[in-house]
């Protein structure tokens, strides 16, 4: 009853796009797919959609191989947004839903409903090349879900959206998930994943680095994060003397400390109080996904995107 990827490998010439990647997504879950550009996210999505064939490995949904599933099982929001530039928005939406087998009248009604919901009913008669980037993205999202697919695959759905539209889209995500739809989205924006993914997978240069529920992945690091603020002591220089503790981020009013497994965070609080400082903030937390990503992959997610010059962009795949 899951979306199951097993041992997917894909090479493009000398470039390994995917190397034995496997993970599972449960129905009704929101799944975040993390990785830098060129890590293999798009290739994996295309293989799930069966518009690209893996060299080895398999994909199944509810126990059936993806090659035996009708295309309407999936909805897809490609990373490279694309609509017919000269076609009217409503016509395109109805056309794409029609390809998935939705009767034209239903498609029309639902499309107008979604436009309303995204607060852009006036776009129905507009040509796609007259739309702003954000609006085009909304249309693209509607095109992906208008046929009410069981699984929605979205490649970087939040890129280029302003906060208002991010929250509109997030609302739509949550509603679809509540209706039992399975959502897979890729991103390099950690906060989006933290905000809405139930499960995540981190992929780096074609290899799966880690996968699991968001909380589990954060816990698995073993480290703890302590956020600490002491009045009139911005540097917290004394922390360097503590074993297994180091300052990883100094913000004007707060510092973040990384605490190795086996060290009790309470000892830091005691040390601060013992020094006679006035502790204004003390918080114990799991490491952020950003920190986990750096720890596992070795660099921040938006660095080293062009790791391999032979792979100019992932879409070359």
């Amino acid at each position: 009853m899951t979306l199951l990827l097993e041992g997917l490998s894909k090479r493009f010439g000398r470039v390994v796009a995917l190397d034995q990647v496997g993970f599972r997504v449960e129905p009704g879950e929101i799944f975040g797919f993390l990785g830098a550009n060129g890590a293999g996210k798009t290739t994996a999505m295309r293989i799930i959609l069966d518009i690209l064939r893996a060299d080895s490995g398999s994909v199944s949904w509810r126990g059936r191989p993806n090659t035996a599933l009708p295309r309407r099982t999936f909805g897809y929001l490609p990373e490279e947004r694309g609509l017919y530039p000269r076609m009217r928005v409503l016509d395109q939406l109805v056309f794409f839903a029609g390809l998935y087998g939705v009767p034209l009248a239903d498609a029309r009604r639902d499309a107008l409903g979604w436009l309303e919901r995204f607060r852009v009913p006036e776009l129905a008669g507009r040509r796609a090349d007259e739309l702003s980037k954000g609006n085009q993205q909304k249309i693209q999202f509607i095109a992906a879900i208008l046929h009410d697919p069981e699984v929605v695959l979205m490649d970087e759905p939040f890129t280029g959206l302003d906060p208002v539209n991010v929250s509109l889209l997030r609302g739509a995500f949550l509603e679809l998930a509540a209706r039992g739809r399975t959502l897979v989205f890729s991103t390099h924006q950690m906060e989006m994943v933290e905000m809405m993914a139930d499960t995540i997978a981190i992929i780096d240069r074609g290899r799966l680095v880690t996968a699991g529920s968001t909380r589990e992945v954060r816990r698995r690091a073993g480290r703890t994060i302590v956020r600490l603020a002491v009045r009139d002591d911005r540097d917290l220089a004394w922390v360097a003397a503590l074993r297994g503790v180091k300052v990883i981020r100094s913000l004007p009013d707060i510092s973040e400390l990384s605490v190795e497994p086996g060290i009790d965070p309470q000892s830091i609080l005691q040390a601060a109080l013992a020094r006679g400082g006035e502790v204004t903030c003390f918080e114990i937390a799991d490491p952020s996904l950003e920190e986990i990503f750096i720890e596992l992959v070795g660099h921040p997610v938006d660095e080293g995107t062009l790791a391999d010059p032979a792979l100019p962009a992932e879409s070359a795949a």
Binding site: L49, L52, D55, R71, F74, Y76, E80, G82, F95
Partner: protein
């Protein structure tokens, strides 16, 4: 790719309809069609225009023989044939297009030709058995209308002269088949009149149809390739192939563009054909009844129209699938040209073969080409119109064509499925072949 989305039809129809509507609605389509209609109708009006131009023009032919009687009789008979009088027209009001005048002797006649007083000279030789032979001194080639008409007219004159000279007793000489020779008289100032009704309207018609097929295959083929390439360029392609199978998209595209092409075609052809069919009434209305003769559409029969339709549609399908595959391999519509070039060479070769085959239409190499798909739409059509074709040959040619279309559709689907996800490839024949052989590779 075997897919549970099964049938080609529902989605192919959607794709075809979208393609058709968007194409036909576009301004470029309307403008191009309007221009082509004007061009085609003007072309159809050319013969009438030429007739109008020729109206005042008179072809002067001198006639000479050793006997003034024979000269006069030939002049009278040939003149009657060359200057037909339309029914119901008073012969007295008809302006003669051909004026035949007797010449004193050959030398005088030739001198008059050189001086431009007459355009050409018809020399009548009286053979010992009383039969007539003819020599035409002039610059008209054997295909000119004047010569064609003269040949018929002189033959008729020879028959009549022969029958009138038959002795009353039985056992006269047998009929002498008149010879008709052409003697060019270069250097004369005679101006051969432009002749609108070139002989063999079949040849003309065949050339026109072959040109039309050539234009269709290349231009509408390019439409297909460009349309596929722009879907790639606008990146709408990725959404398309996640919604429909490559084969559904491919068939829909080819049918949609084909239908748009056919629409343009009919928009052009219908008014042009009406003008051609109504040539005589139009000519009569414009330039008067007496000058309006010769319908140029002689030889256009239903089987020929059917053959044209079949080869037009099948030829388009064959080429369109290959063009679609080519379009799927480039990233920008501008790059289509590079891949389309080798294709248009194939098309051009068939076109040339068909045009140049008109003289040797019944040769075996032409027969071979007329079975060969990619060439048969041109060459078989040319054979059907100008040569002798057995019905099994047409069936074989069409059968091979249909089989090849199926093959090229399959092949194109394979390339298309892989090609549409390829970006930044060098558009060239090598990419094309590499993808065709290993669609999964990078």
């Amino acid at each position: 790719m075997s897919h549970p989305d099964g049938g080609i039809l529902p989605n192919a129809r959607l794709v075809a309809r979208r393609e058709y509507v968007e194409k036909v609605r576009s301004r470029a389509f309307a403008v191009a069609t309007a221009i082509l209609i004007v061009v085609a109708v003007s072309a159809a009006l050319v013969p009438i225009g030429l007739r109008a131009l020729n109206r005042g023009q008179v072809t002067r032919i001198g006639v000479v023989s050793s006997q003034p009687d024979t000269t006069a009789r030939v002049i009278s008979l040939v003149s009657d044939y060359l200057n037909p009088v339309a029914a119901g027209v008073d012969p007295a009001t008809v302006r003669l297009h051909y004026v035949l005048t007797a010449q004193a002797n050959l030398a005088t006649g030739l001198a008059n030709v050189r001086a431009g007083r007459i355009g050409s000279l018809l020399e009548v030789s009286i053979e010992p058995d009383g039969g007539l032979d003819f020599t035409f001194h002039g610059n008209d080639g054997p295909t000119s209308g004047t010569i064609q008409k003269l040949q018929v007219a002189t033959f008729g004159a020879a028959v009549i002269v022969y029958s009138q000279n038959l002795p009353h007793t039985a056992g006269g000489p047998g009929f002498h088949q008149p010879a008709f020779d052409l003697q060019p008289t270069d250097g004369g100032s005679s101006v051969a009149p432009v002749d609108a009704t070139v002989t063999g309207s079949r040849t003309l018609l065949a050339s026109v149809m072959i040109v039309l097929i050539f234009i269709t295959l290349t231009i509408y083929g390019m439409w297909v390739a460009t349309s596929v390439a722009s879907e790639k360029a606008s990146r709408v392609m990725e959404l398309l192939i996640s919604a429909a199978t490559p084969r559904q998209l491919l068939v829909g595209k080819v049918v949609g563009v084909g239908a748009a092409g056919l629409t343009q075609y009919l928009a052009i052809l219908v008014p042009a054909t009406i003008v051609l069919v109504l040539q005589d009434p139009i000519a009569t209305a414009l330039i008067g009844r007496a000058d309006a003769t010769d319908a140029p559409l002689v030889g256009l029969t239903l089987p020929i129209l059917l053959a044209f339709g079949a080869f037009f549609i099948l030829g388009f399908l064959l080429y369109a699938f290959v063009y679609a595959a080519a379009g799927s391999l480039v990233s920008r519509p501008e790059d289509v040209q590079q891949l389309a070039l080798p294709l248009s060479f194939i098309s051009l070769a068939g076109y040339f073969a068909a045009i140049s085959s008109m003289a040797t239409i019944n040769s075996s190499s032409i027969a071979f080409l007329s079975y060969l798909p990619f060439f048969s739409p041109y060459v078989m059509l040319s054979r059907v119109m100008l040569g002798h074709v057995e019905s099994w040959e047409i069936v074989l040619s069409l059968g091979l064509l249909v089989a090849t279309i199926a093959g090229s559709a399959w092949f194109a689907g394979r390339i298309y499925g892989a090609g549409v996800l390829l970006y930044g490839q060098r558009p060239g024949l090598r990419t094309f072949l590499r993808v065709a052989i290993r669609p999964g590779g990078g």
